[in-house]
Amino acid sequence: MVGLSLGEQNFIKGGISQDLRTDGRKRLTYRPIFVETGIIPQASGSARVKLGVTDVIASVKAELGRPNPSYPDKGKVSIYVDCSPTAEPTFEGRGGEEFSTELSSALQKCLLGGKSGAGAGIDLSSLCIVGGKVCWDLYIDGLVVSSDGNVLDALGAAIKAALSNTAIPKVQVSANASSDEQPEVDVSDEEFLQFDTSGVGRHYIADATTAEESQMSSAVSLSINRQGQICGLMKRGGAVLDSSMILDMISVAKHVSEQLIKRLDSEIAAAEACDDDEMEL
């Protein structure tokens, strides 16, 4: 991404203050979302989400493992994000490590809740098979194929779609038999939103492209669940923000997230329906 000239910067900032962004969207409108599920047959669940040009793939693999001794009746989930050099040439080798650590930790905080496991997006006790001995280990991997801003939201949506596509065999402990029913992983619905503020005029936008992200003075990532509670709020440095602005952002986030959840659910349902049709043929 080459630097922006002064004229381009002013164009972006001026547009945002007039509620008209460079691609014609309003400040709080998301780019069109495209969801495809079941793209990786070897994984337990997978999904690909395209948010405009941003393209991410998430896959879920389930393996049997031992639970953590301090939480014997809970399964384990580990989230890892990899930034592919196809997204940015700077991601080659160790270059993308910082960005991927940031994404992994943000997603982990939002999906796995507090230290005691309270308020997690994924119900870890549903992953337990035999308390203290055997549990499911979920390995959630994300791959950033193309990045044009707002990778966190795309990853959140992809993980949600992948988890709703995940089928884990039901395990029965008696007599070493395992039946082949396919229950789905219990996921409580929540949405991720990333809100960025631009430097001029104290306006904030949702779903920024890379050019807009380079102009922002600070970014707040908010994760809100269906009950309207905050699952994660991350503001890492950047310009100083007043708490009234954060309150504004949270209320707008709730409003926009409802629309986003609806769109995402309908897209996931459409993708799954496509899959079922293909399987029947």
Partner: protein, 243 residues
């Protein structure tokens, strides 16, 4: 409505805080800060010439190395490094020494909860000790939300593990300006009331979040005065040593 805490602390009561500068002789700047049992030592080396590959050469670059007390450096350490770096980029005046790198090494001596605020205070004190240009100091605080909805400040490690949710907030410290009253414009005043960094973990309602912010800010004002006093008293003793 009183919350029972170990050691009989009130919900809004912070642990005793201590901060001392110039603890290491070979570093350009160093400081150690402790909040109760949690202790962090920070050392500053720099500015050195040249910036790293992807950094903007028109500004100074800050590099943080976080060393845990035990164990190898892994993901949590990298995350702390990134949070500290972004927070410090906000309070440092980066345009005064362009194309330079300043390295800050943060060593955790003991972790008993509230680690990130302790590290931020130690780092700020170390930067002051090194003479690095800063816009303002930063003060940080951790708030926890208990099972029954109370908010407690500055949790210890045991308390942190039982919490429903956890918020870490960093505010800019109040500015002791040499300019006369009335010449500071309104925007400067409003930024003093803002939040530099905020990290949450666990689920909480929006009201809980804002109550934590208010309680945190109320507790932080005496804290920033304490920090400033500790640093000032050491400056006076330095001068007396030099003369």
């Amino acid at each position: 409505m009183n919350v029972e805490r170990e050691g009989g602390r009130g919900a809004n009561q912070l642990r005793p805080m201590d901060c001392s500068r110039n603890v290491l002789s070979r570093a350009h700047g160093s400081a150690s800060c402790s909040h109760g049992e949690t202790k962090v030592i920070a050392a500053v080396f720099g500015p050195k010439s040249g910036t790293k590959k992807n950094e903007n050469p028109e500004k100074a670059c800050i590099e943080i190395i976080w060393k845990p007390k035990t164990g190898q450096i892994g993901k949590p350490e990298k995350e702390f490094e990134m949070i500290l770096k972004r927070t410090l980029q906000n309070i440092c005046l980066l345009t005064i020494h362009p194309n330079t790198t300043t390295s800050i090494i943060v060593q955790v001596a003991h972790d008993d909860g509230s680690l990130l605020p302790c590290a931020i205070h130690a780092t700020c004190a170390a930067l002051v000790d090194a003479g690095f240009p800063l816009k303002s100091l930063a003060v940080a605080i951790c708030c926890c939300l208990t099972e029954n909805g109370h908010i407690i400040l500055d949790p210890s490690k045991l308390e942190e593990q039982k919490m429903k949710a956890f918020v870490c907030l960093v505010f800019p410290s109040s500015v002791n300006s040499v300019l006369p009253e009335g010449s500071t414009d309104a925007s400067a005043k409003s930024t003093e009331q803002g939040i530099i960094t905020s990290l949450t973990r666990g689920v909480m309602t929006v009201d809980d979040y804002f109550h934590s912010v208010e309680q945190g800010r109320a507790a932080v004002t005496p804290l920033s005065n304490i920090l400033r006093k500790k640093m000032q008293s050491q400056f006076a003793s330095n001068l007396s040593k030099a003369s």
